[in-house]
């Protein structure tokens, strides 16, 4: 099987200023093989892939295609050389259909007329060959995430890509769609394509790949054939030591939860495109429990969280009650005054103002910051922020640091510290550990559990089953803007929840 590699990287180095994102990376991808690149967030996986795809220019190093050295200056070059990438955030124009998105590509002259008929025929052929089922005519923004991903793959196959890069493809998918994706990938390698599979999830890498490269802090810390690998070896390659994850499930609450602190009745809401994504949800959150919400992205869970946090209007007469008192969802400040804490999914632009120093971000979502007469008391604000940063182990140069300069983990800790510092009645968090490294993830989970132990009601939206199953006391499953099931993690399985997320077997709770 050892023919010339389809793609070979030799000594790729990329620095941003003084920071080395990739340090002499060597890598070989063969036809008919899935090459997994494994590493935590910030390990340099994305940078490496962007170099292969022509978005970044490497400082040093060569890229060889079938043994020939090539210069890749732009995605256009990459496509011309047969390299295609399925990005984590899909590179699709939302208002275009799959066909139109495909028409964008290709080598023919810009002023040529678009030939949608021909494109459609060819796409249908590809669909059959690789077993991909997808709607070609609707605007892709109306398709599910899994479908959009398939459009991405089709798009690349259409241009004749030989090397396909998948950047964390499963991060956004429910389990069933993951299986479908794996089937597609298997089909691809069967047809002699080369696949680079980027992930930080051990299990799926072990399942799908033939060869594994582990990246840590910009360097390769291990390369191994999958058949020779097991979990422990890989973890050691990643963290350089043996670490055991804490057992969160053991801290599950026993006994009856407290009174209802936050309650929604008949909640409807529109997303930013004015589409009703939340279609009538009733929810009660008790003191001292963690309610997990599962669902495929775009099924209303974000809107649910936002309505309950007071930052999105409930429509069609939906009501939110805090401690039994109704609060108008038009008035975000009332929620803040009633001490409803909120940790949004987007840390950088929602949870903080990127250009603000940390001490100024400290009083975001705070109606009563420390005042001296009519003026803000920045001395006190700094002190509060400093103390919280100490107790939450936020590593930054100080409160003067702009929040944009913090790593994801530190920023999330900062935001969590700010949310919990005032001992809220309820904590609403969206994807609290998405994109965090292992240690930060454990830290955040621990704090969420402590919040529950301190008697707060917690609503936790997550796409991570491990997180939902180990933290939540009960899990609500959202599909199409409605709750289609409520389960207890001790008595169900990931697969069952996954089925519900797909709209199959609704209400069949154990």
């Amino acid at each position: 099987m050892k023919q010339t590699p389809l793609l070979e990287l030799k000594g790729i180095t990329k620095t941003f200023g003084d920071f080395t994102a990739n340090d002499s990376i060597n890598l070989k991808v063969y036809r008919g093989e899935v090459h997994a690149v494994l590493g935590e967030n910030g390990a340099g996986k994305s940078t490496l892939m962007n170099i292969i795809y022509g978005i970044y220019k490497p400082d040093r190093g060569d890229i060889l295609l079938s043994g020939q050295s090539v210069k890749i200056q732009s995605p256009r070059d990459a496509l011309r050389h047969g390299i295609g990438m399925v990005h984590q955030h899909f590179m699709l124009v939302g208002m275009y259909s799959a066909i139109e998105n495909v028409c964008l590509m290709g080598e023919d002259s810009a002023l040529s007329l678009t030939n949608k008929k021909k494109t459609e025929e060819k796409l249908n052929e590809l669909k059959k060959r690789y077993g991909i089922e997808v709607d070609l005519h609707s605007p892709v923004e109306q398709l599910s995430i899994g479908m959009q991903q398939k459009v991405e793959i089709l798009k690349l196959l259409y241009t004749g890509a030989d090397v396909l890069i998948f950047d964390e493809p499963t991060a956004v998918l429910p389990p069933q769609e993951c299986d479908a994706l794996f089937d597609v990938i298997k089909n691809l390698v069967r047809q002699d394509k080369g696949v680079i599979f980027i992930s930080h999830k051990l299990e799926e890498v072990l399942y799908i790949s033939n060869y594994i490269t582990v990246l840590t802090k910009g360097r390769i810390t291990g390369q191994i054939h999958t058949e020779e690998a097991d979990k422990e070896t890989i973890v050691r390659m990643m963290v350089g030591e043996d670490v055991l994850p804490p057992d969160f499930a053991a801290r599950r609450a026993v006994g009856t939860p407290g009174p209802v602190v936050l309650e929604g009745e008949g909640l409807y809401a529109r997303d930013d495109r004015h589409v009703y994504t939340l279609q009538g949800v009733d929810i009660q959150i008790h003191a001292g429990e963690i309610v997990g919400v599962a669902g495929v992205e775009g099924n209303g869970q974000v809107e649910l969280a936002e309505v309950l946090a007071g930052v999105r209007k409930a429509r069609k007469g939906g009501r939110v009650k805090i401690d039994g008192q109704e609060v108008s969802t038009k008035n975000a400040r009332a929620f803040i005054d009633n001490n409803i804490a909120y940790v949004p999914a987007d840390r950088n632009y929602v949870g903080s103002v990127p250009d603000f120093p940390l001490y100024e971000n400290w009083i975001l979502r705070n109606n009563h910051p420390p005042m001296k007469g009519p003026f803000l008391d920045y001395g006190e604000i700094r002190r509060e922020a400093e103390n919280a940063m100490k107790s939450y182990d936020v590593r930054a140069r100080g409160v003067e640091e702009r929040s944009a300069n913090l790593s994801g983990g530190n920023l999330q800790k900062f935001i969590l510290a700010r949310a919990l510092e005032k001992h809220p009645k309820a904590l609403i968090c969206e994807y609290p550990t998405r994109g965090l490294d292992i240690k930060a993830t454990w830290f955040v989970r621990d704090r969420i559990l402590r919040a529950r132990e301190a008697g707060m009601g917690v609503l936790m939206i997550s796409g991570d089953f491990e997180e939902l199953f180990s933290l939540a006391d009960r899990i609500l499953v959202l599909y199409g803007g409605k709750i289609v099931g409520e389960v207890r993690p001790e008595t169900t399985t990931v697969r069952k929840v996954g089925m519900m997320m797909m709209g199959v077997n609704g209400h069949e709770s154990d």
Binding site: V311, V350, S352
Partner: protein
């Protein structure tokens, strides 16, 4: 404004160098134009840049120009803080001047004399605020681009002012389309110098702006809105409400500038009163990067340039429109300078981001 963000960072010395070189480059390019016109650029620049500061009298003249620019600039800075652009300074000045005239020529003003001025200023600010409020309302209610609506409102305001001086506010004595003079003018600060109370008011405006933006919850909220709209929503800050408020505020400032121009300089309402103060205010705000002291200094510069341009025209015959060329070149070169050399901060931030 990304351009501005990139300017805020970097070492002091580096930035001094960038601004200095950019201004020099702009002046050098301007000199090419002057040489084509057969004018010695050094002579021209002497009149343009040095002469305005050469005597107390010309400094006084400079303040007359600077005050409206500064006040409009401060008002515009409020909107820029939230990343809105109020380009309607001209129209709002017109409305402010109309408001001041209404009060200043009323029998109330005849009765109380100089004491009408604070009332007039209040009314002027209110008029200006309402005019800008139209754009603000359209923005929040109909999502109409405030850049376009404020520009359109300028044209309408100019005609409104023209109508006022032709018909309802026209001075019955005399055959000139202008209003009657106001009951009293702004007191002067120094005898024999045109510098007037407007300067003090303008400086107070700067102070108010500084305190509000830096020290109050309100200013904090505006800055959050400018930093990230979504973060504002997260923080319970209503975008619509604050967009409207900030448009009202900036309109009020422009209206105030109109009232000072009226009561301090023109003494009566007449066409063309707003001059180029509206756009100069925008330039001052951009050049000063919305920093109170920066806007102040930029306004001084612009006021001086505008007085200097008159002297330059007198002495060298270079049309004062040349000032437009120079002003634009200076701003564009400063932007260019920072885009090339002002990005030192980005690299650093990457390192910090990853190297925890």
């Amino acid at each position: 404004m990304k351009a501005i963000d990139s300017m805020r960072s970097g070492a002091l010395l580096r930035r001094v160098g960038i601004v200095l070189l950019s201004v020099l480059a702009a002046l050098a390019l301007g000199a090419v134009f002057l040489i084509i016109l057969d004018v010695n650029p050094f002579t021209a620049y002497y009149y343009l840049l040095v002469r305005p500061f050469s005597s107390l009298n010309s400094i006084g003249e400079m303040t007359i120009k600077m005050v409206p620019i500064l006040i409009v600039g401060i008002g515009v800075s409020f909107t820029f803080q939230t990343k809105l652009s109020n380009l309607g300074g001209e129209g709002q000045i017109c409305l402010g001047a109309i408001g001041m005239t209404l009060v200043g020529t009323s029998s109330f003003a005849q009765a109380v004399g100089g004491w009408y001025i604070p009332v007039g200023m209040l009314v002027a600010a209110l008029f200006g605020a309402c005019w800008a409020g139209i754009a603000g309302f359209f923005k929040t209610r109909f999502k109409a681009s405030e850049i376009i609506t404020t520009l359109l409102l300028n044209y309408i305001a100019v005609q409104l002012l023209s109508w006022c001086v032709y018909y309802p506010l026209r001075d019955t004595a005399g055959n000139i389309p202008q209003s009657a003079p106001v009951a009293a003018t702004l007191p002067r600060l120094i005898d024999g110098n045109r510098m007037n109370l407007g300067l003090v008011i303008a400086l107070v405006c700067v102070l108010v702006y500084w305190v509000v933006m830096k020290r109050t919850k309100f200013g904090y909220r505006l800055r959050v809105l400018g930093g990230s709209i979504k973060a504002a929503t997260f923080g319970g800050i209503s975008k619509k409400k604050y967009y409207l408020i900030v448009m009202l505020i900036s309109g009020a400032f422009a209206g105030l500038a109109g009232s000072i121009e009226l009561a301090g300089t023109q003494t009566r309402l007449l066409e063309g009163l707003a001059g180029s103060y509206g756009f100069d205010g925008v330039v001052a705000s951009l050049l000063g990067m919305m920093n109170p002291l920066g806007v102040l200094l930029s306004s001084v510069l612009l006021g001086a340039l505008s007085i200097g341009a008159e002297t330059m025209q007198v002495r060298t015959g270079v049309s004062s429109l040349f000032l437009n060329v120079l002003e634009a070149l200076i701003v564009l070169f400063i932007l260019l300078g920072f885009s090339f050399f002002g990005s030192g901060s980005r690299r650093k931030s990457k390192k910090e981001k990853e190297g925890e």
